[in-house]
Amino acid sequence: MSASVVLASECPPDDPGFCAPSVLEFFPKPLATFDLFGVHFAITRITIIMWIATGLMVWFFVAASRNMQLIPGRRQYFAESGYSVIRDGVAREVIGTEGLRFAPYLASLFFFILINNIMGIIPFAQIPPTGKFAIPVVLAAITYVLFNWVGIRQQGLGPYFKNNLFPAGVPKPLYVLITPIEFFSTFVFRPFTLAVRLFANMLAGHLLLAIFAAGTVYLFTVGNFSVIFAPVSFVMTVIMTFFELLVQVLQAYVFVVLTSTYIAGAMEEAH
């Protein structure tokens, strides 16, 4: 058991002392590397986990939408319920009837983030690919481009920036102070926090689980009186796994709700 923990946590098998898992967990040895247009690509264990997870999700939805009946079978019922959580519960609720246009994007976003987050607690995978900063950055960038493009197309380039940067009801001289804050808050802070919130939650959760699991193994195998603390560490691993499940689902949901709120804000600014 200690061999597989060492394999998974990238720790050199040194006897004295406890090798705590660190951020290097997210940079495992690459299985294959290649260069394309001057960019260095590396296929690691995390890439394979992301492909398998996304493949499972795509397969599930494609298989459920084949041969669709009026009275749904079980697989179609699950897929439809899942899609309706986003389409009715988020898109229609936050954006309104216009929101149904964005429901496919929001649902894909939600299920992609959800399945990749859950890989953090599935055995043999046990690392969430969304804990690598590049993936939340790209998702936040897509959302950023989307809500700006929707806003500009809806209201025109000038009125969109005017409505965002110059809030109503402020005496004229204060605009000098307020406009940089509004610009930063809308165009820099929003996508940045969208990405960092998802990334930091996944990173912290994974490190927490890794430390408790590695600590359990270490306390069992160290051979002195510390072994009485091993059950405590094990119980904490189990508790944190359930807590991590909650956090993973919640973070996927929060990402999608915030995306739809930004889209709603960009579309309704005509007041």
Partner: protein, 58 residues
């Protein structure tokens, strides 16, 4: 729910933007206290902005 994040974000943005401008002015004029003034000005402006945007029959 997203209003809460927007308010905290506006407060942070006020501090960062005007603290940053104060810091750049510090580098330009070789003083040490303009950073603190910038942070306070930014904080006050951000509080005013929050009340204007989210209060007032919001």
């Amino acid at each position: 729910m997203s209003d809460g994040w927007a308010v905290v974000g506006t407060l942070f943005a006020g501090v960062v933007v005007w603290g940053g401008i104060g810091w750049l002015i510090d580098l330009w004029l070789d003083t040490t206290f303009v950073k603190a003034i910038g942070v306070l000005v930014g904080l006050a402006t951000a509080i005013y902005l929050v009340v204007v945007k989210y209060g007032d029959t919001g």
